[in-house]
Symmetry: C2
Subunit: 665 residues, 2 copies
Amino acid sequence: MSVYLHDIPLSQAQARLRDALQEADLWRMLGMEEIPLDENALRRVTAEPIWAEISSPHYHASAMDGFAVRAVETSGAQPSSPVTLYTGPQAQYVDTGDPLPEWANAVIPIENVESLDVEGEITSAIRQPAAIRIRASVPPWAHVRPMGEDIVATQLVLPAGHILKPVDLGAIAAAGHQSIRVARKPKVAILPTGTELVPIGAKLKAGDILEYNSLVLASQVKQMGGEATRYPITKDDFDLICQHVAEAAQTHDIVLLNAGSSAGAEDFSSKVVEKLGTLLVHGVAVRPGHPVILGMIDRGQQTMVDGQSSMVPIVGVPGYPVSAALTVDIFVEPVIARWLGRRPLELPTETAILTRKIVSPAGDDDFVRVVVGKVGEKLLAAPLSRGAGVITSLVQADGLALIPSGTQGMEAGEKIQVRLYRNRTEIEKTILAIGSHDLTLDLIAQFLAEHDRRLASANVGSQGGLIALKRGEAHMAGSHLLDPKDGSYNISSIRQYMPGIPVKVVALVGRDQGLIVRKGNPKGIKSLVDLAGSSGVGSVQFVNRQRGAGTRVLLDYHLNLLSISPDSIMGYNQEEYTHLGVAAAVASGRADCGLGVAAAAQALDLDFIPLFQERYDLVIPKPFADNDLLAPLFDLLADSRFRGAVSQLKGYDVSMMGTVILEDG
Amino acid sequence: MSVYLHDIPLSQAQARLRDALQEADLWRMLGMEEIPLDENALRRVTAEPIWAEISSPHYHASAMDGFAVRAVETSGAQPSSPVTLYTGPQAQYVDTGDPLPEWANAVIPIENVESLDVEGEITSAIRQPAAIRIRASVPPWAHVRPMGEDIVATQLVLPAGHILKPVDLGAIAAAGHQSIRVARKPKVAILPTGTELVPIGAKLKAGDILEYNSLVLASQVKQMGGEATRYPITKDDFDLICQHVAEAAQTHDIVLLNAGSSAGAEDFSSKVVEKLGTLLVHGVAVRPGHPVILGMIDRGQQTMVDGQSSMVPIVGVPGYPVSAALTVDIFVEPVIARWLGRRPLELPTETAILTRKIVSPAGDDDFVRVVVGKVGEKLLAAPLSRGAGVITSLVQADGLALIPSGTQGMEAGEKIQVRLYRNRTEIEKTILAIGSHDLTLDLIAQFLAEHDRRLASANVGSQGGLIALKRGEAHMAGSHLLDPKDGSYNISSIRQYMPGIPVKVVALVGRDQGLIVRKGNPKGIKSLVDLAGSSGVGSVQFVNRQRGAGTRVLLDYHLNLLSISPDSIMGYNQEEYTHLGVAAAVASGRADCGLGVAAAAQALDLDFIPLFQERYDLVIPKPFADNDLLAPLFDLLADSRFRGAVSQLKGYDVSMMGTVILEDG
């Protein structure tokens, strides 16, 4: 068993797969089927060009309700000298869409006609008068839709490889078709493997991993136009995996073998491929997604249909969810596109400014998930978590930025190409918040979503937020920075970190800060004094917030008052980036306590020892404060439903919500 | 019956509908349903915010295959002074994803470990050695995915009103859910009415109108997230329509009553609404789509479920296909969005330069379908057919431009806002061809589609094409302009109409031009001489091409040689814009003959009298000739499959295809 993977460049890996498919005569549309022309044809792909069988209209049709006439007989009609035409030989009533009589070549709209009875008097028998009187002439073919106005028989209606939209279906019907040949949907088998996997909904114990990759993969395949089969979980048994893969290969066009593709002890995937066929690639220089496996396996002779290839491609999809989803986008989408005869999916690309430095291995094509927002005139890309296990980074991503192999990363402020998942209009409705985290931000996100705005928040601590505002990288920052000199909040820090920038500061909430401890407070912690090694409580493991966080400033302020040295606190250098991260560390037993807000303790059913009260403000540079983009946010601060929702969180005080603390002129 | 509609502004019409829905307590999410978390949840809309039930990972997980250790016990390890840790108390093998033992706080990857046996010798028992030797220390939490790295219990995973993507389903599963509450799909009844309507697939006679609007409408509704019921066609019988509408209202959330909404004799829709409920709007100042009807009707007491509104909105959708589709986009989409709790669809908007003057009624919001392409650095919008009956204008449209009420139109060269149906990347792959029409262009479109390019062609005649090229409005023009002086093609016209612009001219095809006549040539037409009123053939009705078309230049040239005056030709001023248009005019009996290409006659099973041969060239400004965008086009001219397809058209000669006629330096 080879423990180390040999990564090849992405383009080489894609080329190997393409060459192998070409050799197996599988780099082409797989086949077609004729389906009825109904709503189920939506989003299917045309397998052939569609040519018009008939013209539309298929006759000269009246474009108005009115009277069909010979244009030449209307000549000379004027307001002062009307012309009278007798119904029957000279004029015939037609509704919109009616065919013109053979002899007619124009239509006079009904509203331009006086209906006359046999005596020549005006009558209300609009449709069947004896004659009509007109006071204006019409040119030939006026108010007529000539045959073929929309579609001329034999013309191209749609090319092959076209994804059908609603109006396309109408045009195909208008062109005389009642069924349509579309590309057959590629059949994709998805096999999750791993003894540690448990199905969605199972009761979890430590070490269990929820198997949801097959759900994501199947949904991706469905969205791409394929038909996915999700197999049940196969445990790590080589023969069993071989057997299930071989079975799947008999009835599918491609097999996705998920997990087991890292180089660890349970790595069967590459051996499975080697046993059942040819291993093309084991390891690709792409992040996330390194341990990708590509191969071709035998379909199994006895099940082959005439003309069918004897080979089936197989992709060993890495186990981490982000790697898995990107592997399908990168390797499987182009194959499905080819099999359907359509263009591969191409996301629109925009140039954005990177907000944070990114370090990237020089040998890899590195796909970085980013949040994109427009701040002033600048389009910004803020990198999300790089972890291959962090599926929320894909959920939150507005786009994907590629750091190509050959570069070791990019600096903050550099221009970067981003493939966008959302369109510009949506992105321009995104409020970028950066700074300190507060649970209220999740509630704001939910309420703003109801008002046509999206809140994308990055948690970098209060100080980091003000610095980001100074650099023009966000619309607002949540901040709770205590001034140790006078006990005031935020203003002195704002002047220090963003000098000369006019701002509006609005109070969001007052909140309790205190020690989050395990249920029942087993270590009997009462105050900050108990954190120091010298205290009587015994060894207390602390978990801290990151440098620059307001909570950390608060801690340092009080440690200083109490003359406690940070060195005497075990875990002072263990950093978490959110209140809930601190609470989770305590809940898991990794720490005995941490400083944070009551709501975080409540959320994970922990105990809370309130120590201080503080104010959490929103800091907004002046230009954005008067901007349409943020208007719904200010409305929210006065919304009783929102205030109610916040007050239900433990330890929160909404009495100052919306109060303007500072507004520069 | 009121014959004249009273049009109200679009915004007012939308407001009336919204107010009526609000009053009926229907301006809100309709309801929710709980569905299993599987692929069918894709594209459904979350009915509630989704909060995390569990953290992910839900335990501290090893991020690598390796050995779990206490970080503190690795300190001091260096290449020259290794540290040995005994398995059991100090080190424990873990696979990626395994939980850390209680006592461990870091993982050393297996590739950084030497496995030792009981004698302290290196062993190949990688997973179960007696001890491990390491030559580097690790910090705490190295190679560990701490609990909550991805998701912390209680955090917001997704807001309400979110359209579910594949990765979202994974995140929801990771957060501990196995089902999901989504908005109930709004039920939309679609009732086509009209005695003239026939279903798709019916044998057509003059006056029959194919009923495909219900297919387009149902597909739109499906794409918007609703559930459509297509009713069979109801003939124009007031009581029958009332009965069917009332039935549909009992089981649907909204009724779309299609056709019968113009002010003609068969206009029952507004009376139906008045009989069954309240007419809110009859006529909206919007083009296309004028005769829109909006109303609220009674659901019918006996079928009401508790809490359900007693009212159901009804939309009288105009009969013309473009009006019908736009009415649903404008009036129904925002309602469905509201009922689903999601944001209304918003197309991205770009500023483009209008290529042609548009005249628009000052009182109307006028929606113009446009083809969009990038020529050089300019984004151009070329208006398509304005006809409400021309569904192909929606099929071909890249976007929709609004000429707002209050303006009487826009000039060529003005900037216009376009709502784009395609993304920029696709638009930048569009080749804009403008000029003379040739059937070969349809074949080029089909072949280019296979090579990641889209051909959008506008037919304005050869001369119009050259003028458009001069104005920088297209990438190429098809042209067959005869120089009456020397019998050469195109070059003198190019110098005349686009002086100083370097071009490349490539021959596309040689083709026959001649008279297209009815099958059997009943009028016995032999040559141009027979067109003149004085000829012996008798009265011949001619159909001409538009001014500037190469075919018209050819006609005028030969008429001049024969000293025939255009005034002597009946129908000389009847203009068609394509060869097939001319053929259709002859096939329908509207004309006896027209000058055109053989292929057009063949397409409609007409006879053809060849008179002349001519060359049809592609004219390409130099910068585009060397551009990536057009490269696949030049490849095509050398492609034997393409040449074969063209030679199968009657009257075409491909021997010169691809020959460079002129290339400026």
